[in-house]
């Protein structure tokens, strides 16, 4: 397996010759053996340790360990550091080892899969890992593709084959791949063995939907595209067999190239924590320096003369040097302020929270059988701090189940439901749906309510027929006919499926397709069209076209696409048809429907031939093939023109009139009409948005839909309301227009706030920084709708701030017609200037960039494959789960993490600072206060579990409350629970505790004696007293901090105390001392002493004292100033949406605000 990975210089291009292993070996391409595992048995230990010590924390502790081995410095035995370090390293190593073991297993399994390879003219069984670039392999039905193959031939006609790409992109619909014609004849082994074509293509990359290469064979060149490729990870379906030439193998395959780690996201708490750790480290060094100076002075003033009883070490010849050494000694004993267990505990807590998200049955969608999934375990607490949500519309807010709802054909609109009196009927009182029984191939599930459309079809209106003919021809849907008449469509996009199904029911049944033909049943008659070209859909073109030759021999281009694109392209001599169609489009969009414009164009034979040649040239191009193709496509789709038609009445279009127009505009586009597809809102979307808005989360919808559709959806999901003061719409096409529109919007907002009487003078807002703050406080509710083309200008460097300020002053922002890149840019803009946590939610491949850019990416596992989910940090199947994810899980995670960190820093400062105070009384000699076992176990045994339990299980209010009172979410956004201020309070409290922990025993011990007169002021009693009081005090503190005592919390808190005492007595027992007098010298004391200190009144009082005192101090964290009954349970009045903002703030502040 070690042979698998070899570093090679990056390839410029790839050459592979079929059936010529010798030739191909020259290039030393990667073999088909994959290796996802990192270690083997021999390398595991060194490599894993090396990796682990790349973590700064681990190296730091290793450094401490080395310091401790120097006798002059060692203030603690080595085991105090090595035990936690080894524990942490072991846990990580075990985790890595298990992961790697499973990777080994799956690697082995994959590498040993069998495939049939054509070697020297015969098919031989070979393991996958032995397949080489240039081999020809045979695949059978339902087999996994072993490497990235060039499809040569298959059992199906025309070298077609069908694949499922679920493992690659998650899409479950079948896709068709086709061999290039010259190779598709190579059906038998004999011919294949003689095949010696050479493929020259792009180097390995991770673009799943793109491939460009050329096949050189028999002195001709053949262009290769993604259409000819079978990628590793796909499964062959519905195809008996096929042959393929291996182009990329093993690690070079697109599947493996895609499996790279995604960018590691960090939470703001993470970053804060790292900063704080650095500060603490600085603090540690300061303490070290203070104590070292103290040591030097002490050695000089006292130690020098105390040499009578305590001579200096031989190696230490001066007070200065002694101070230098004691600096390191103190670094060792004070290092517990930055405990190694911090990072591990944080990870454990986050993992726990992730599991709670996965386990939440209220985020489980029964219909799709998908539970919510936390795909990243490190971001949970940031879910409690989200301020901006960027949402996709289609499939995220809506169901993405498309229903053909309305259409406009030749200027007449169909699909409205009329009641008997001719008024538009309201929902719910619909008459019977249209009866499609005339058509045996109709889809029973398809419903349509306007009978006039069917009548028009039956009457044979040519426009209507052409309209549906286009729908049945211009698409990329695959059909499957299990039995006669039982058609199933497999569509890549639900829109297409809806349109083809509509055509099917209206008598234009798409029956089957081959690469060169499409068979359609037109009103019961099977007609086969020759398919000349498919001009594919993509996000930039926003349209797709097909060029077909009808049985009569006419060549026609059918095109459907977004209205902006298509209408622009229509070069129309009259606007007569354009006008009503545009009206209809606006009407449909106003109802929230998705619209497409349909048009066709006749091409003449010569033009087509010429164009086809250019297209071939473009597709053969090695470089910038995409661009060239795009421009060729552009050319043929240009000059679409609405013919000079009168607005025709349905069924009464004058053929003569039509003909006369066509003479003038033979090559021009005929506008057929438009379709409107309904995409229903998901359940609970308006409620969720309303709730999130109440939680002060700003929601921006970024959609590719047109403005009217987007605005309408905005209204239907309550983002926009009629109560809003104004909805600004930015549609400018130039920089100046956009700037002007934004400026006007701002002025209006400011004017109104001035009118309210806030008293801002006009001059004040001229400075940009002031402007932002003024705008933040704008009164009234505004919304902003931005168009894609305006957004492009608004996102330019000199305007982005203006845009952002305007947008942020609005309650709701809708950006329509945006490209995936713009989505990411908008997110990036907010991230850059607002310092706020952003969350992007989407379901499709076009949301991936936005999901990856935002702090938190949420994928909706919906209809559009799983690319968004794969890129996301959290995934679930319904938008409405977002409220639960944020308001319940996020809020709790944030709360728990903050409480955890506060307590964690507190307990370590309380623990460690005692050494600092003691330094002043032991000659700054780095003598510890506690015994070494206590130091070792304090962080990993005595105090770790209770705080972990709190970090995992704590709840301040039950989940219903956080949904009822979304204002409770605000502390997270304002970062109130853990910030630098809170940190200093925790630290101060820790230091305060340490002062009590040290000076109360000090005061008592200074002259203390036991009740039998023997002295008590010995070091061991002192140590046990301080340690015991400390454990009790921090346990009391965690008890006060824990707001939700489950059985587990009880068990851990009481258990930790019990374990402390058990270990204390065990350590102090005679038995251990008898066995190891030297090792246990410190503890070599009898149970009696421990008892005396802990139980009898000797030590008890100190503990009670310090305990009570600290208890008093500790109340800081939880005893809030009065109005207490209300503090943790916001009163109904506080939470209700109707209340005034001012009073809400005061309600909000109570649970988290200042302390007593």
């Amino acid at each position: 397996m070690a042979l698998c990975a070899k570093k090679r210089p990056p390839e410029e291009e790839r050459r592979a010759r079929a059936n010529d292993r010798e030739y191909n070996e020259k290039f030393q391409y990667a073999s088909n053996c994959i290796k996802t595992s990192k270690y083997n048995i021999l390398t595991f230990l060194p490599v894993n340790l090396f990796e682990q010590f790349q973590e700064v924390a681990n190296t730091y502790f290793l450094f401490l360990l080395i310091l401790q081995l120097i006798p002059q410095i060692s203030s603690l035995s080595w085991f105090t550091t090595i035990v936690p370090l080894v524990l942490v390293l072991t846990i990580t190593a075990v985790k890595d080892a298990t992961d790697d073991y499973f990777r080994h297993k799956s690697d082995n399994q994959v590498n040993n899969r069998q495939s049939q390879v054509l070697i020297s003219g015969i098919l031989q069984q070979e393991q996958w890992m032995n397949v080489c670039v240039g081999d020809i392999i045979k695949l059978e039905n339902n087999q996994f593709v072993a490497a990235d193959l060039l499809l040569l031939s298959s059992s199906e006609p025309h070298g077609l084959c069908y694949i499922e790409t679920a493992e690659l992109d998650g899409e479950t619909n079948m896709k068709v791949r086709q061999a290039i014609p010259v190779t598709s004849e190579l059906g038998d082994i004999g011919k294949l063995a003689k095949f010696d074509g050479e493929v020259i293509c792009e180097p390995p990359n991770n673009k799943l939907d793109r491939f460009s290469g050329t096949l050189y064979w028999k002195e001709s060149k053949f262009p290769l595209s993604n259409q000819n490729m079978l990628l590793r990870g796909c499964v062959l379906r519905n195809t008996e067999w096929c042959f393929g030439l291996v182009i990329f193998a093993g690690p070079d395959t697109k599947l493996m190239q895609n499996s790279g780690r995604t960018k590691f996201k960090r939470t703001s708490i993470d970053r804060l924590m790292n900063t704080l750790v650095l500060w603490i480290f600085g603090f540690l060094v300061c303490m070290g320096v203070i104590l070292a100076i103290g040591n030097a002075i002490w050695e000089h003033e006292v130690g020098m003369r105390f040499q009578v009883y305590l001579p200096w070490d031989e190696a230490v010849d001066s007070a200065f040097f002694s101070g230098f050494l004691s600096f390191w000694s103190y670094i060792i004993i004070l290092n517990t302020v930055v405990p190694i267990s911090l990072y591990v505990s944080v990870e454990v807590i986050r993992l726990g929270h992730s599991y709670f998200i996965n386990w939440d049955k209220k985020m489980f969608c029964t219909k799709k059988r998908t539970p919510a999934e936390a795909r990243t375990t490190t971001l949970n607490e940031e879910l409690g701090q989200v301020e901006y949500i960027f949402s996709d519309k289609t499939g995220t807010l809506t169901q993405n189940i498309m229903v053909f709802n309305k259409c406009s054909i030749s200027g007449r609109s169909y699909g409205d439901v009329f009641d008997v009196l001719g008024h538009k009927a309201e929902l719910g009182e619909r008459p019977e749906p249209v009866d499609f029984s005339f058509n045996p191939l109709a889809d029973k599930k398809f419903l349509f309510w306007d009978p006039s459309l069917l009548e028009a079809v039956k009457l044979g209106d040519p426009h209507t027929h052409e309209f549906f003919r286009l729908l049945s021809l211009c698409h990329t849907v695959m059909s499957e006919e299990k039995s006669e008449g039982e058609l199933y469509y497999k569509a890549q996009s639900p829109d297409e499926g809806a349109l083809v199904t509509a055509a099917r029911n209206f008598g234009f049944v798409f029956r089957s397709r081959t690469p060169k033909t499409i068979t359609v049943h037109e009103m019961g008659i099977a007609i086969t069209y020759q398919l000349l070209a498919i001009l594919d859909f993509n996000n930039i073109r926003k349209r797709m076209s097909v060029i077909v030759r009808s049985p009569e021999g006419k060549i026609r281009l059918y095109c459907k696409g977004a209205d902006t694109i298509l209408l622009d392209r229509l070069h129309c001599s009259t606007h007569e048809l354009l006008g009503p169609t545009t009206d209809h489009l606006n009407e449909y969009a106003g109802e929230g429907l998705r619209t497409l414009v349909l048009a066709y164009k006749d091409l003449d034979e010569e033009y087509y031939e010429e164009w086809a040649e250019r297209r071939l040239q473009a597709s053969l191009a090695q470089d910038s093939r995409e661009d060239r193709l795009a421009s060729v496509y552009e050319e043929v789709e240009r000059d679409m023109m609405v013919s000079a038609q009168r607005r025709p009445r349905a069924g009464r279009t004058g053929p003569s009139l039509l003909l006369s127009c066509q003479e003038n505009a033979l090559w021009d586009f005929q506008l057929l009409g438009a379709t409107a597809i309904e995409d229903k809102l998901q359940q609970g979307v308006p409620e969720t948005i309303a709730l999130l808005t109440l939680a002060n989360i700003k929601i921006w919808v970024l959609t590719g839909d047109k403005q009217e559709t987007a605005v309408n959806i905005g209204y239907s999901c309550k983002m926009l309301t009629d109560d809003m003061t104004e909805v600004f719409i930015v549609t400018g096409h130039t920089v100046l227009e956009v700037r002007e529109e934004l400026r006007k919007a701002r002025e209006k907002m400011l004017d109104s706030s001035r009118a309210v009487g806030n008293g801002f003078s006009y001059q004040e807002k001229l400075s940009s920084s002031k402007l932002a703050s003024v705008l933040e406080a704008v009164a009234g509710e505004y919304a902003l709708v931005v168009n894609g083309h305006s957004l492009a200008h608004a996102l330019e460097a000199d305007m982005e701030l203006e845009f952002l300020e305007t947008a942020c002053a609005c309650k709701a922002v809708i950006c329509c017609r945006v490209t995936p890149l713009q989505k990411a840019q908008v997110v990036e803009l907010v991230k850059k200037y607002k310092k706020a946590v952003t969350l992007a939610i989407g379901d499709g491949a076009n949301d991936v960039s936005m999901i990856k850019t935002a702090h938190i990416g949420v994928g909706i596992s919906g209809q559009e494959g799983i690319q968004a989910v794969l890129a996301s940090d959290y995934s679930f199947s319904q938008f409405k789960f977002l409220q639960r994810l944020l308001l319940v899980h996020g809020r709790w995670s944030y709360l728990r993490m903050c409480k955890f960190l506060c307590y964690f820093f507190y307990k370590n400062f309380a623990f460690t600072m005692v050494h600092f105070w003691f330094g002043f009384f032991c000659g700054f000699s780095a003598q510890t206060v506690y015994d070494q076992y206590f130091i070792t176990l304090y962080n990993i045994v005595y105090t770790s579990l209770p705080v972990l339990a709190m970090g995992v299980f704590d709840q301040d209010v039950p989940e219903q409350r956080s949904m009822e009172y979304p204002k409770l979410y605000e502390p997270g956004q304002l970062n109130l629970l853990f910030n630098k201020r809170e940190f200093f309070i925790c630290i101060a409290q820790g230091i305060y505790t340490s002062v009590l922990m040290f000076f109360i025993p000090y005061g008592v011990f200074a002259e203390a004696t036991r009740d039998d007169g023997t002295q008590l002021a010995d070091y061991q009693s002192f140590a046990v007293t301080v340690a015991t009081s400390l454990v009790i005090v921090v346990s009391v503190q965690i008890g006060l901090d824990t707001g939700y005592w489950t059985a587990i919390n009880h068990f851990f808190i009481w258990g930790s105390l019990a374990v402390y005492f058990a270990i204390l007595f065990a350590m102090h027992s005679n038995g251990l001392f008898d066995m190891f007098p030297n090792q246990f010298r410190f503890v070599g004391e009898e149970e009696q002493r421990a008892w005396r200190v802990c139980v009898r009144k000797d030590g008890q009082s100190e503990m009670w004292l310090s305990g009570a005192d600290t208890g008093l101090a500790s109340t800081r964290s939880r005893v809030r100033l009065p109005g207490m009954p209300r503090t943790r349970w916001p009163s109904p009045r506080c939470g209700s949406p109707s209340r005034l903002p001012r009073s809400s703030a005061s309600c909000l502040w109570l649970p988290f605000g200042s302390s007593g």
Binding site: K361, K362, E1007, D1011, G1043, G1084, S1101, A1108, R1133
Partner: protein, 362 residues
């Protein structure tokens, strides 16, 4: 405080009815759904205020009791370092005078009842210094014969003297306090012969120290033979096997030695020296009157500004004299009480104002 019982709100997602796949459906357990029954202590005015007052009410009387008891304890300390030129022990500061004996007179105004404990107190003496604390070999002290002849390295530089290993080794043992203190009662002015007070040498160490932790080297013969092959710490005047005449208080199990070996936590400390046992109920153990302290001054502390004193103290139920303790209790109690009062006032005030605020908001 209220107890939140299991929250039985079944929130099955109304995504769509239909047959659900049991496999991927999360378990409906209290743990996984975060419904674990839990006690949610809520700190409210109703619970916190009484707690503070009760704390105050408990701590203040205890503090007063302790303070009072502590004040009734008799304690007297006689500093005999001899730094002041007027001090009788001043002559002993010079190392030439050996042995140096000095005498200090003092008066007990009130009689000491019950058992009286005699301590020596040292200050500015760093028994808690890191290098000092580790400079011992517990195996050796526990009677391990191999350790006796080969003490561990930590004892350096008091591990060996010339070729012989030091027993007991280390800086702690080496620096053992070796002044001899004797107490005499001057019965009356006319009687010139003072009465020596009987000082009990045994019973001053912790039981287990004496019986478990410290053991003499095993073997036959006298203690001297058992210590054969080792030498005495350099500072010691007497060898280890001659610390006391009694066999069970000699060598490593000499109680003065044991007391010295359990190091003090702070640089100012006292260690029990001798006991003065109560004779009977009729006479106080130490009647009031004139005493003098006879000191055989061997232990130099002057060089590092140390101070030596002899302390006589009685003991009560709450141990020796320690005013700090009572004061601490009283302080804590007062703070609790005060905080309670402040919170009460604030609570009262705030409740009113918040009520008005709420009513105003509506």
């Amino acid at each position: 405080m209220n107890y939140n019982a299991l929250n039985e709100v079944d929130g099955g997602t109304p995504c769509a009815p239909g047959s659900a796949a049991k496999t991927r459906r999360p378990d409906n357990t209290a743990f996984k759904q975060q419904w674990l029954a839990a006690w949610q202590p809520i700190l409210t005015a109703g619970t916190v205020l009484p707690t503070f007052f009760i704390l105050g009410l408990i701590f203040i009387p205890i503090g007063i009791g302790i303070f009072d008891t502590s004040n009734n304890i008799r304690e007297i300390g006689i500093v005999y370092t001899g730094i002041e030129p007027s001090s009788p022990c001043n002559k002993c500061l010079s190392p030439d005078v050996t042995p140096c004996v000095c005498t200090i007179n003092f008066t007990l105004e009130k009689a000491f009842e019950g058992n009286v404990f005699m301590y020596y107190g040292l200050s500015n003496f760093y028994q808690n210094h890191r290098r000092y604390v580790i400079s011992r070999d517990d195996s050796q002290l526990n009677g391990d014969s191999s350790a006796l002849h080969n003490p561990n390295k930590e004892c350096e530089p008091y591990r060996r003297n010339e070729d012989l290993k030091i027993a007991p080794c280390g800086a702690i043992a080496n620096s053992m306090f070796n002044d001899t203190l004797q107490l005499f009662l001057v019965a009356n002015e006319s009687d010139p012969i003072p009465t020596p007070i009987h000082l009990k040498r045994k019973g001053i160490a912790w039981w287990t120290d004496k019986h478990m932790k410290f053991r003499n080297p095993p073997g036959e013969g006298t203690l001297k033979e058992r210590f054969k092959g080792t030498t005495t710490p350099v500072n010691w005047l007497k060898p280890g096997y001659m610390l006391d005449s009694e066999e069970d208080n000699n060598g490593f199990i000499n109680e003065d030695f044991i007391v010295w070996m359990s190091t003090a936590a702070l640089p100012t400390f006292r260690k029990l020296y001798h006991l003065i046992e109560r004779k009977n109920d009729l006479h106080p153990t130490l009647p009031s009157g004139q005493y003098y302290l006879n000191i055989t001054y061997n232990y130099p502390v002057h060089s590092f500004d140390g101070r030596k004193q002899m302390i006589l103290s009685t003991i009560s139920w709450m141990r020796g004299k320690s005013p700090f303790w009572g004061i601490a209790y009283i302080t804590v109690g007062s703070i609790a009480f005060l905080l309670g009062a402040v919170l009460l006032v604030v609570n009262h005030k705030y409740r009113n104002s918040s009520n008005t605020a709420d009513t105003m908001a509506f």
